[in-house]
């Protein structure tokens, strides 16, 4: 499997419209006897139509709550003119059928990255079915059309079902450029679609990774090195193995951290026997790593030469020196964990000549890579079943837990389910890096921002390098980076694609070494950069005595432009600001009572696709305790909302995610270890912290811009700006807590 680099991912999602996979026929499979019923019509890898009219659609992304199993098949059905009631879903799996197709779910790319491809797949099938019917009736194809899984000859009313035509359609040439519908004619897309998995979820029938059961399986729980990069020196499992139900104790070296596994007949026996293990660790070179010290050192990195120029327009440094007025500020984003509710797990059955895995994953490619590496088997002898996920958020873009299960199963020659505990999950992740962002702005005589230098220690989020088989704690130094390492990945997101109209703009990224394994976390680099950028704009408005909304509207500029490969429509950005302000009653007075109250506004454009502005309204007790987010207004222009129910769901979800890291968290490291153990000390919001929401999705026929991560990053700056409006206290480090507020107020 070719490693999916961040760069390749971006270019592939940019080029996702290409229908190059449409011409993929299945003759190779037929030759191997792998297609059992040749009468089945398979115009491409994405769907098949059986003579009994059953349409099977293969879902090429992974379900983690974002609704891909509902939406993606509808893209095909829309163009195919299929009757949705007769559609059967199957999860696409790695193997020859899907060779070259991205079975990888990240970057809010599932809808925007498949929109043209899947529609083309459906349209091609429809054109072949129509051509087959026309040939049978000896009429021109243009006199026929498809509807509800049938082809109809308009003049005579004759009709044949897709199933009746399957055989003949298979003999038709595959159209290379099938005609796609005008979105104005959509019957399915753009309307609310209930989740296909809904009934199974509310009845408890939905099966996740931890619910997988296969014959003869056992369970494993792993005690991992507590210190980052620690090594296993020796262990004594004799007491653990005497516990009832315990079968084996063995070393595990294939995962994120080395460890010792207890294998038992039940999950509880495996988990509870871990405390009987006697293990000696070599804590290694990172035993003193401390997140507070790391964060304290971050601003220093911004002053060094270890920087990459990511974007430079005009001459920012000269313009800064010449500016009528200057302002600088440094913002800090702490470490964060994904904390999905379903802990990492994988069920593996590794035999001498083949292997099978059941795994909740966002990426079958990474799973296959690890499966090959650990089992030593070739890809064609390995089968991966992607299960539903109890949350992904980026954590399941790594397959370390599959590697652990593979190693154990290979050794014990039995199917095994590796189950992580909540403590394992909290301490052994791929974390959101802590960053510092330094912004220096230069204003002209009218207070307008004419020069900006944004330096960020966004750290190396070219994350997949970590996992490409490389041992991040090994002695081998990481490969040197190309000068365009960051900018070619459009990184750091949010700094690189700063959407404001600033004549002199320079964005630099410092490369800060760290022993912490990093991974993409919901919204990736936007949370830290947008917190800094949008807080800074608010500071400038205050400095110049302007209303924050007016100041922003002036800074947006006019018209369309490109930022590298990213298109930007500033009219759309302006419109979401204006509408959010209007709905939030920006100019209406706040209630006058004993509490401190304020509103704040922030916005972002995610890779030029989706435009969102949020207004947060907060209140606090006069002594700066009891911070409450009362209301969040969120106005969304994500192009055509393919499933409006999905868009508002992701908005609610993204806002909750943003609230968690704005108000709660974070992760700390002390003596090389994660301090937190679970939800008791790495806290996330619950219902009592959920504010009143006003979500508004702008009706649009623009290309869908993606949505899973987009509503996240403006929550923190909107709240920080609202807290400033309420209290006059500016917090430049997350989370925003009463303690931090009182500390800042007394400085």
């Amino acid at each position: 499997v070719t490693p999916i680099t961040r760069r390749a991912f971006l270019s592939s999602s940019a080029a996702a419209g290409c229908g190059l996979l449409l011409a993929l026929r299945i003759p190779e499979l037929e030759a191997e006897g792998l297609v059992e019923r040749p009468a089945v019509f398979e115009p491409n890898a994405y769907l098949s139509i059986a003579p009994d009219d059953t349409i099977t659609i293969f879902v090429i992304r992974h379900e983690m709550g974002q609704g891909v199993r509902t939406l993606l098949p509808m893209m095909i059905a829309e163009e195919l003119e299929a009757n949705p009631a007769r559609i059967r879903l199957e999860q696409a799996v790695t193997g020859p059928r899907f060779a070259g197709i991205r079975l990888h779910t990240s970057g809010s790319g599932s809808s925007r990255g498949t929109y043209e491809t899947l529609r083309s797949a459906g349209a091609a099938a429809r054109e072949m079915l129509v051509a087959a019917a026309a040939a049978r009736w000896s009429v021109p194809p243009t006199s026929c059309h498809a509807e509800s899984s049938m082809v109809v000859h308009g003049a005579t009313g004759r009709r044949l079902t897709f199933g009746q035509l399957a055989d003949a359609a298979a003999a038709q040439p595959v159209p290379l450029e099938p005609r796609l519908k005008d979105p104005a004619d959509f019957r399915l897309l753009g309307r609310p679609m209930p989740r296909v998995d809904g009934p199974d979820i509310v009845t408890g029938r939905a099966r996740y990774g931890l619910d997988v059961r296969v014959p003869n399986m056992v369970y494993a729980s792993i005690e991992r090195a507590p210190v980052l990069g620690g090594r296993l020196v020796r262990f004594d499992g004799s007491r653990a193995v005497r516990r009832p139900g315990v079968l084996h104790v063995m070393p595990v070296t294939s995962g994120i951290q080395q460890g010792v596994a207890v294998v038992a007949e039940s999950t509880w026996a495996a988990m509870s026997a871990r405390r009987e293990l006697d293990i000696a660790w070599d804590h290694g070179q990172h035993r003193d790593f401390d997140s507070e010290r790391f964060i304290a050192d971050l601003p220093g990195w911004l002053e060094t030469d270890a920087q990459f120029v990511v974007r430079h327009e005009g001459d920012a440094r000269t313009a800064l020196r010449a500016a009528a007025r200057r302002h600088g500020a440094t913002y800090v984003f702490p470490f964060q964990a994904h904390a999905p509710l379903e802990t990492m797990n994988c069920t593996a059955d590794v035999r001498a000549d083949h292997a099978e895995f059941w795994v909740p994953t966002q990426t079958q490619h990474r799973c296959m890579e690890q499966a090959v590496k650990v089992t030593g088997l070739p890809e064609e002898r390995i089968r991966i079943h992607a299960t539903l996920m109890g949350g992904g958020f980026g954590r399941r873009l790594f397959a370390d837990y599959l590697a652990e299960a593979a190693q154990i199963s290979k050794v014990i020659a039995r199917p095994v389910q590796v189950v992580w505990t909540r403590v394992d999950e909290t301490r052994h992740g791929y974390f959101q890096p802590s960053t510092a962002e330094r912004l220096e702005g230069g204003l002209d005589g009218n207070g307008r921002l004419v020069a900006l230098v944004h330096r960020t220690s966004a750290s190396d989020l070219t994350i997949y390098d970590i996992h490409g088989g490389r041992d991040i704690y090994g002695s081998e130094p990481p490969p040197a980076k190309e000068p365009d390492h960051y900018s070619s990945g459009l990184s750091p997101w949010g700094a690189f694609d700063n959407p404001y109209d600033i004549p002199h703009l320079r964005v630099d990224a410092a490369d800060v070494p760290s022993p912490v394994p990093y991974g993409p976390w919901r919204a990736v680099e936007y949370p830290s950069t947008v917190f800094a950028r949008e807080s800074f704009l608010d500071e400038l408005s205050q400095l110049t005595g302007r209303d924050p909304l007016e100041y922003r509207l002036d800074a947006i500029g006019e018209g369309e432009r490109m930022i590298g490969p990213i298109p930007l429509d500033r009219g759309r950005l302006r419109h979401v600001h204006e509408l959010a302000a209007e709905r939030a009653g920006w100019n209406r007075p706040l209630p006058q009572d004993a509490r401190l109250r304020g509103r704040g506004i922030a916005a972002n454009v995610y890779h030029g696709g989706s435009y969102i502005a949020q207004v947060a309204e907060v209140s606090l007790a006069p002594d700066l305790t009891d911070l409450r987010v009362e209301r969040i207004t969120c106005v969304i222009d994500c192009g055509l909302a393919l499933n409006p129910l999905g868009v508002t769901g992701q908005a609610e979800s993204g806002i909750a995610w943003g609230l968690s890291y704005t108000l709660l968290g974070p992760i700390h490291f002390r003596e090389g270890r994660v301090v937190e153990r679970g939800y008791q000390d790495f806290r996330v919001v619950a219902m009592d912290r959920m504010p009143e929401l006003d979500l508004h999705v702008i009706a649009s026929r623009e290309r869908p811009g993606g949505f899973g991560e987009h509503p996240v990053p403006m929550v923190a700056p909107a709240i920080a700006n609202a807290v400033f409006a309420a209290t006059g206290v500016r917090l430049r480090r997350l989370p925003i807590t009463p303690e931090a507020l009182r500390g800042a107020a007394s400085d």
Partner: protein
């Protein structure tokens, strides 16, 4: 469990959660934290919402346990409201949330917003489906009351 009597010969200290999942093959109650903090394993024990990861199977003996599989399949007002408002995202916490809401409605058929928030705020949903859950509980209460 769900109206059936089961005899288990296992370590009496085994949490009810793992007895349900590994021995009775009921997978609706989920593991999330193991210390009663997240609510994903919530079941009814004698009609009270209980965290199955914190109750030993010995202490559950002789009591009536209802898991999500024991609700009338998909026809309980809570489940119907959950479906009508499209609450779930990843769905992993939802059986526990539904059982917590069902227990709330058993003891308080028309709960106030404060009661809803108090009953539900001890449960973790990392997808953040709180707004829809709140509305779904109001809807289920209204449906049961009518």
């Amino acid at each position: 469990v769900n109206g059936r009597l089961h005899a288990l010969d296992i370590d009496p200290g085994t949490p009810l959660l793992w007895a349900l999942r590994d021995h009775l093959h009921l997978y609706g109650a989920k593991y999330g934290c193991g210390i009663g903090l997240c609510g994903a394993c919530t079941v009814l024990v004698d009609d009270q919402a209980v965290r199955a990861c914190r109750l030993s199977v010995a202490d559950a003996a002789g009591k009536a346990v209802t898991t999500i599989e024991g609700l009338a399949p998909g026809r309980e007002p809570v489940q119907l409201a959950w479906q009508a408002l499209q609450v779930p995202q990843c769905g992993y916490c939802q059986p526990g949330m539904i059982m917590t809401a069902a227990a709330l409605l058993l003891r308080s058929p028309s709960p106030s917003d404060e009661e809803i928030t108090e009953a539900m705020s001890g449960s973790v949903c990392r997808c953040g489906t709180f707004d829809r859950m709140r509305r779904a509980i109001r809807r289920a209460a209204a449906a049961e009351g009518s």
